[in-house]
Symmetry: C2
C-alpha cells in the first residue's frame, strides 16, 4: 500500500504543501532554478481552469491573440513606474548563438545583440507598441484582447505554483475611448475572476482595490481578490488594473474621437496565473492529500474493482455497464454569473490495473483529491449496494444500486457547495475587527485583520515593517465597515475613510 | 469600398503572401526582429487547428504537460548531433536583472548567471532530464506526453508563419520499452498529422521519411509530410521522429524490463507549429485573399444585411430568425480517421455595422476567406430568395428560401472536399518522373520531381548545390515507384532502391 510521505498541516504547513504538490503528481522542480514542471495530472486541472476562464472571456466579448516573448530593453524604459517595478527581476537575452570549440559549447561572443531583449515579465509594453498600429479612430475601440502566455520574473525565493521564475498565465489588454469605460472593464474582469473562484474553484476571497503602495507598476488602480489560505495567510490570486493613459502616452497611442479630435487611449490589463493552482491546493487540501471541487476535477468518480481473476473483472464490468450509460446522460449543474447554468459531464475512471492493490489505489485517489471513490467487489454486487467514499468529508455511505446515479450527481453538487461554504466560513471565522494597534499585533498572527488606516503610504510601511502584514485590499463590501465607534487610524489616530484588510501574505 | 493592396500571385508570389497575411488580419511583424504578432482572426484559425490536433492526441492516449522555457547550456552538449544542429540558432539568457542608472536602463553586470540558459529551440534535453525521475520500471512505459509551447530559433531570414524566430507549436515526447513500439508511435503520430491535414486543412502532402542528411538533429529516423504550395515549392509541415536511445543514453534514463534487467528507454518526438498556418495560406488562397476550409474556419457564413434605416435591419433580422434556428440544429460532417465522424456547428456572422458599406464588407469577407457570404435586402426577402456567394469557386447562386439550410450544409461540405481535391490534383499535375539529370534540372523549376538516387549524402549535396533542390522525402507510397525501366541514380548511375521526392522548399 502506497504511503504518503508528507507531514500534517499542523506539523509543518509549508512542507506539507511542498510534498503534496509532488506526491499528488501536480508538479516537480526542474534543473532550471525556480522553474517547475507541471505534470500531466496538474496540467489536466490547469486546463479545466484555463478553459473555463477562456469561455468567460469569450462570453464577455474578448478575443485571443499572441504577442512576442521578447521585449526590446528600450521599451521598458518608456513607462517609468513600470520599469522600476520589474527591472530587478528580468531575464535578459544578450546573445543569439552558441559555438562549439575544443569539445565544449560556449556563447559566441560575436553573436551579441545590439539591443538586449527582455523575456516578458508582463506584456503591456510590447502590446501597446503594436496597438499603435491597430487604433486610429473611436470605431476601433474598445479593443478587447486576451493572451495566454508564459512569463518570467526572476524571483529569489520560489515555491511551486505560488512563486516561480517562469509561470503560465493569461493577460488581458484592452483599449477604450473613455476612462469610465476602462474602469468598468477592469471591474467587469474582476467580477469574471470572482465567478471562476466562487463557482468553480470554490474559493471565496475578499474583493477590493489595492492601496497605492501595492498597485501594479504602471497602474492607476488595481482590483484584487484575496482569499484566506488554511494557514490564515492571504494569497493574491488575480488582479485587474485600470492603467489610465500611462501606456498610451508612453507608446503614443491616440484615437480620433467622435468630435474628430485626437486623444490618448485608456487602458486596462488583468491577469491570473498558475498561482491559482497554489490557491486551490492551499484552500481545500487536507492531511491525506488534495481535495478538488468537482467543477474543475479531471476525474469525478474513481471506481476500483476488487478482483483476483480476469473473469471477476469481466463480471464487474458487465455489472457496471448500465450504471455507466445512465451516468453518461447525467451532469453536474453549476450556476455561473457569466456562463449561465451549465452542465458538466461526469468523468468516471475505472481502475483495472492488476499490478496495484485496491488499498494502494484508494490511497492514490485520496492523494489526488478525486471527489468520490467506489470500491466494488462480488459481495457488493450480490447485495445490490455501492460503498461510496466522499473525499471532502472523508465519510463512507452504503448506497442501494437503484439510487446510485442520483446519489452521485447530488453528492458531487453538494461537495462543490460544501467546499465553497467551508472556505467562506474559514475566512469569516478568522477575520478580526480591531480598533487599536495592540489588538492588531496580536490578531494579525491569527488571520485577517480589518482595521482603520489613515490612507498614507508611511503608515502602511510602518505596519509592514513592524508586523510583516500588508494591506491586502480596500474591500468593496460595506458589511466590513461596521462595528466601530471612531473612524481613526489605529496607528496615527488620523481620520480613516473605511476599514481596510491587513494580512500576512504569500 | 475597401481595396486590397496586394499583388496577384502571378505578379509576385512572395509579396502576395506577405501582404495577404497582413491584409486578412492574420499576423503582423513586431519590433522584435523575426517575431510576429498573431492577430485575433489568425489566432482564431490557429485555435481551431490546435484544438482539433489536441483532440486527436487525447484520442490516441496522450496527456499534456509543461516543461521549462529555459534549458541549462550544459544539457545541450549531452547529445552531440542535437547541439550541432541547434547551436547556431540559440537565444541565450546571460543575466537576470536590469538596473537604472543616470536615467538609462542597463543590464546589471553583477547579475550574471553562473550557467547561461538557452531559450528552448525544442525540448528534448530538458524533458529527458526530467523523465529520468519518471521512469523506473516497464510499468511506467509507454509514457505519452505532449506539450504546447513557444520556442525560439534565431533564424536569419524570417517570414511570418513560415519561419519566425519565435513560434508556437506542440511537441510530443514519448518513451517506450522497445524500438518497435517507439517506431510504431512515430508512425502513428505521422498518421495523426495526415488526418489533420487531409480532413481538416484540406492539404494533401507526400508522406515519407527523411534522408539522413535532412533528419532532425538527434533522430534515427524522421517522418515528414510534404505538401506542394501554389508556387510548386514544398513545405515541410510537420515531423515525427524515432530518436532511438540517443536521449535516454545522454540523460541516463533506464527502466527495469520484465526480465528484471536494466535497459535504456526508446524515444520519439513529433511536432507541428504555426508554420501550418503558412501552409494553409499558401495552399488555398487566391488573388482576392484567403480561402479557408470550413473544418477550421472561425466563421462559415457571413450575412450582410442591406439596409438604410434601423427598421429595415429589424425586418431583416426578423426574417432571418427562423433560418438561424434551423441552421443551429444543422452541422458540417467531417470524417476523421482518429476522431471518427464528427459534426461541427455552423458559425454564422451577421454583420450589422452601419458604418461600413455592403461592398466594403463583401470585400472584407473575401479577404478573410469566409466560405459562404449572403447579401440580404428587401427584394431578396420579397422574392423568397438568397444570393449565396461561394468563396472557393467565386460563384454566386440564387437559392430559394425553403432550400437554404440544406444548400448551405451541402455547399460547406462540398467546399471542404473541393479544396482537398484541388490541392491533391495540383500536386499530382506538377509532379514529374524523370530518369536523367538534364530532365531533372528542367523539371525541378516547375514542381516536384521523382527520381532515382544512390542513397548517399554526397549525391544529395551535389544536387542541392547545383539545383537548390533537396530530397523532401523518401515516399512511403508505392504508386510513385513505377514508370521506370532502370533503377539507377540520375547523377551517379549507381543502383537506387526507389524513387525519392526532390523539390525546392520553404
Amino acid at each position: 500500500m502506497a504511503k504518503t510521505t508528507f507531514p500534517t498541516r499542523e506539523d509543518n504547513f509549508s512542507e506539507w504543501y511542498n510534498r503534496l504538490v509532488v506526491e499528488a503528481g501536480l508538479a516537480e522542480t526542474s534543473a532550471v532554478r525556480g522553474s517547475m514542471v507541471i505534470k500531466p495530472y496538474g496540467f489536466a486541472i490547469w486546463e479545466n481552469i484555463k478553459e473555463t476562464l477562456d469561455s468567460m472571456f469569450k462570453a464577455t466579448g474578448h478575443q485571443n491573440a499572441y504577442f512576442p516573448l521578447f521585449i526590446p530593453k528600450s521599451f521598458f524604459s518608456k513607462e517609468a513606474k513600470h520599469v522600476e517595478g520589474f527591472a530587478t527581476e528580468c531575464a535578459v537575452v544578450t546573445h543569439y548563438r552558441l559555438k562549439a570549440e575544443n569539445g565544449t559549447i560556449d556563447v559566441d561572443p560575436e553573436a551579441k545583440l545590439e539591443e538586449e531583449l527582455i523575456v516578458r515579465p508582463t506584456s503591456e509594453t510590447i502590446i501597446w507598441s503594436q496597438y499603435k498600429n491597430w487604433i486610429n479612430s473611436h470605431r476601433d475601440l474598445p479593443l478587447l484582447i486576451n493572451q495566454r502566455a508564459n512569463v518570467v520574473r526572476w524571483e529569489l525565493r520560489t515555491r511551486m505554483f505560488l512563486r516561480t521564475a517562469e509561470f503560465l498565465w493569461q493577460e488581458g489588454h484592452t483599449a477604450h475611448s473613455t476612462a469610465e469605460e476602462a474602469i468598468e472593464e477592469a471591474q467587469l474582469m474582476h467580477a469574471v475572476y470572482q465567478d471562476l473562484f466562487q463557482n468553480f474553484l470554490a474559493i471565496d476571497g475578499v474583493m477590493g482595490e489595492k492601496s497605492e503602495n501595492e498597485r501594479f507598476a504602471g497602474a492607476e488602480n488595481t482590483f484584487t481578490i484575496e482569499p484566506m489560505m488554511q494557514d490564515k495567510k492571504a494569497l493574491q490570486i488575480c488582479t485587474s488594473h485600470f492603467l489610465g493613459q500611462n501606456f498610451a502616452k508612453a507608446f503614443d497611442v491616440t484615437f480620433t474621437n467622435k468630435e474628430n479630435k485626437k486623444e490618448h487611449v485608456w487602458a486596462t490589463s488583468w491577469g491570473a496565473s498558475t498561482r491559482m493552482m497554489g490557491g486551490l491546493i492551499l484552500s481545500h487540501s487536507d492531511d491525506k492529500g488534495l481535495v478538488l471541487p468537482p467543477a474543475i476535477a479531471p476525474v469525478h468518480v474513481a471506481i476500483v474493482p476488487i478482483f483476483k481473476k480476469e473473469e471477476d473483472l469481466t463480471a464487474i464490468e458487465e455489472y457496471l455497464a448500465p450504471f455507466l450509460s445512465e451516468l453518461d446522460r447525467e451532469s453536474i449543474k453549476i450556476s455561473s454569473a457569466f456562463l449561465g447554468d451549465i452542465e458538466l459531464p461526469i468523468n468516471i475512471q475505472i481502475d483495472t490495473d492488476d499490478q496495484k492493490s485496491p488499498g494502494w489505489k484508494y490511497n492514490e485517489y485520496e492523494l489526488k483529491g478525486v471527489p468520490l471513490r467506489i470500491g466494488l467487489g462480488k459481495r457488493d454486487m450480490e447485495n445490490g449496494e455501492f460503498e461510496v467514499y466522499r473525499r471532502d468529508t472523508q465519510t463512507k455511505e452504503i448506497v442501494p444500486a437503484r439510487k446510485l446515479t442520483q446519489y452521485l450527481v447530488n453528492t458531487l453538487e453538494d461537495i462543490q457547495k460544501n467546499l465553497h461554504k467551508k472556505n467562506l466560513e474559514h475566512r469569516k471565522e478568522h477575520t478580526y475587527f480591531v480598533d487599536n494597534y495592540d489588538d492588531f499585533k496580536e490578531k494579525i498572527e491569527h488571520g485577517f485583520v480589518m482595521a482603520h488606516w489613515d490612507g498614507t503610504v508611511e503608515t502602511e510601511l510602518k505596519i509592514k515593517e513592524e508586523t510583516k502584514a500588508t494591506i491586502r485590499c480596500i474591500p468593496f463590501d460595506n458589511y466590513l465597515e461596521g462595528q466601530t465607534a471612531e473612524w481613526k487610524c489605529i496607528v496615527t489616530n488620523k481620520p480613516s475613510t473605511q476599514r481596510v484588510l491587513f494580512a500576512k501574505a504569500y
